[in-house]
Symmetry: C2
Subunit: 460 residues, 2 copies
């Protein structure tokens, strides 16, 4: 049963399992104690730190272990902002950071700080010059992910790091998605990671702070992990995290080339065999194992359900899933279609045959969902054209507003408009994205009695 | 090799190990996902929550899992204080709480709040009436441990809870030390616990908040664990924590009776076979598995080292260990001797023979350390008495100031004084404690050019 959601959580690497088992026996005691069980635990902790630091590319005394990637990000942002409080209280992030970064930014604003989001292009990448433009004299910290967790696009970390260095602003790089695949480009001041993303166990995050970076841990004091991560060390998991990072890195070059080729095949094939699909993210500067696409006239939840019934586990950034009512902030920032969104992220070791099976199954799954929703055929015949039309999709959720638009666009004359009344949040993103995909003109949106009116002009 | 420091970390219970292994295979995926691996993880998480909630004595929706007992305490205090911010910003804690509570109280004060420490008696327990006296109209939260982690004394939780209820103040009970032994007395509003204290894995804390208690989680928002514990759930460890809590509870009645008898024997024997020893903590209202005593004229580090060389792993609240320069805040609050302090906490399953071996080894170990330090024999002969004496112990660390005092007390006349000049922090605690133990009068302390002058009057 192929599991294609490694970007959420990778299955445990065999080395992680083995190390965890060994450390359950050897590393359960308190490493702060002086008796033999404590000394043994301390040795394991020190060795894990050295190993992880080497993989991260820092000194052991620059690295601490936290309970999660999220905990690392929260501690990093709070500590760096406080350490540079005298400089100012301005925080810069990209618009497509992980929610842990954006939530920390929101908390910072709620506490009286300010923050700016650097926009991304349609591929999901920031522009280094635009990023530099957001840095101010009172900017205490800048944050940029190494690669995006939803679409796989790599960020220009080295270029942004250079701009930050010029401005004297420390850069926090959230390397959660990339750390298993290789070292992070140089120039970061703080770095965070999460073990369960690379095949390590849950319960371990990494937080590296370069010597010389002003850092003042927030929250109640703690004696452990240099005062940067309070609470008893989760030592067996830390040992397993460090061992598995080393193991996946040893396999990374070969495995990333193999998965990169599989993903290239997926990117090409999905666009060919599924009509009205948008494959998103940078096709070149990207994570090796991840591809995201969105399918017109399909709702994300049904699509995931159907793929799950056929044995494929994927995730979705669509709004129309039971866990959320708004589309992914990443797709929104990129301005790409969010309906029928699917993220496929291949765990290391994914069999080629499973990818082939997925590509075989996908067109039928999408077609059946479309049929059920009454989506228009790809090229609908044009009856006697009307001047302009208004479509009422109020109270209907994604992907219905776009389906209704697509059904009638052929009924208006070229140059005439279709106005879609909708109150679903996703329509604001998906109607312009549909226009872009289908070569129609998106005129704009207007307030309406209920919801919003989205105006589209037929061009062909 | 007997490990006698269960109060720091208990060895992993076999059930925890077994459950952890199973959950590594079944519970590595994201429980927030809708595909089968996610649904399976969600089922495991829900089952663990139900099982743990039953053991805690609360509803499943009142309980969340955090990364550690410390994380639970920090989240509990910050959330409860913020939830009752309108009432006021006053926090009440006992003087012998775990450092995670005291650190959170210090952070609260640093942020402009106020807090009060309720003192304890010589056994380590608070007086419910004194506790009630500390509650004010603007008290937002009160904290009391179920039992003390250093001396084992049980706190009058039910009585204090009743006083708090009368005053309308929510009570947080830190049940870290007792949760494995049985349910917490009723009346708490918030409760915290830590899995590795009961034989569960590291990396799991419990936080229960009763329905109706005002609670506002602090820090950046999170979607997981009802917004009360951000970061990816450490599911295998959570499953192991819940399973092992149920398992240790099933064994608790029989095992606690057995260990209680062993500890009774230790309490009686230590006082008999080691001269100049103070066994501390309540002899009756106490944890079943824990005993603490302090030995005059011995330094904690050498004592721990010597016991470790003989295969016994214990901890110490003495100041004279390499990890600290101040005596334990618990011993300080109790006003008992801190030098030569040893805490023995027996893990479940401790063999009676190991306890016997410890009791056989202890007198020789203490005697050899005393001999090396030149400690006075228990009854030193009295030469021609001097009127009064001043002993200069400046720059000498615990236990030397007390040793020097004991050496000369017999040289002054009954009614005359010995003044000890000392700058070691422990002297302030240990000289009065020595007087109490030896039936001499502690007159008081005075400022001196360097350090302090401690005045002792010979009574016999």
């Amino acid at each position: 049963m192929p599991y294609f959601d490694a970007a959420s959580a990778a299955p445990l690497h065999p080395v992680a399992r083995q190390a965890l088992l060994a450390a359950l026996d050897e590393g359960w005691a308190d490493p702060a104690r002086l008796y033999r069980e404590g000394r043994r635990a301390r040795l394991l902790l020190d060795a894990a730190r050295e190993s992880a630091a080497e993989a991260v590319g820092c000194r052991p005394d620059e690295l601490v272990f936290t309970p999660s990637g999220t905990a690392s990000v929260h501690a990093a942002i709070a500590g760096a902002l406080s350490g540079r409080r005298r400089v100012g209280r301005h925080l810069v992030v990209s618009a497509v950071e992980h929610s842990s970064v954006l939530h920390a930014a929101a908390a910072h604003e709620a506490a009286g700080g300010t923050s700016a989001e650097v926009p991304v292009d349609r591929s999901g990448a920031v522009d280094p010059a635009a990023y530099a433009g957001a840095l101010r004299a009172d900017t205490a910290l800048a944050c940029l992910q190494s690669a995006n967790h939803e679409v796989g696009t790599e960020q220009p970390v080295a270029e942004v790091a250079a701009r930050c260095a010029d401005a004297g602003v420390p850069l926090l790089v959230d390397a959660a998605q990339s750390l298993g695949w290789g070292p992070t480009p140089d120039g970061w001041s703080l770095l965070t990671g999460s073990a369960h993303k690379w095949g390590g166990p849950a319960g371990v995050g990494l937080l590296a702070v370069r010597k010389g970076v002003r850092f003042s841990p927030q929250g109640p004091a703690g004696e452990r992990e240099s005062g940067r991560a309070p609470g008893f060390e989760n030592l067996p998991a830390i040992v397993a995290a460090a061992a598995s990072l080393r193991a996946v890195r040893a396999e990374a070059a070969a495995e990333s080339a193999r998965l990169r080729a599989l993903v290239d095949r997926m990117r090409a094939t999905v666009g060919r065999v599924v009509p009205d699909v948008e494959v998103v993210g940078d096709p070149e500067r990207r994570l090796p194992h991840l591809v995201t696409f969105s399918c017109l006239y399909v709702d994300g939840e049904t699509l995931m359900d159907e793929l799950d019934r056929r044995g494929f586990s994927v995730s979705s950034g669509s709004s129309c899933t039971s866990s959320t009512l708004t589309p992914s902030h990443v797709l929104k920032a990129m301005g790409v279609l969010s309906e029928g969104n699917v993220r496929v992220s291949l765990p290391a070791g994914t069999a080629e045959a499973d990818v082939d099976r997925f590509l075989e199954a996908l067109p039928g799954v999408v077609a059946s969902v479309r049929e059920r929703l009454g989506a228009p055929a790809s090229a609908s015949p044009s009856p006697a054209p009307a001047a302009s039309l208004v479509v009422d999709a109020l109270g209907r959720r994604c992907p219905v507003p776009v389906i209704e638009l697509a059904k009638v666009i052929g009924e208006v004359a070229v140059g005439a408009t279709v106005t879609v009344l909708a109150d679903d949040e996703a329509a604001r993103l998906d109607i312009p994205a549909w226009c872009e995909m289908r070569g129609q003109e998106y005129v704009g949106e207007e307030p309406a009695d209920r919801g919003r009116a989205y105006v589209v002009r037929r061009l062909d």
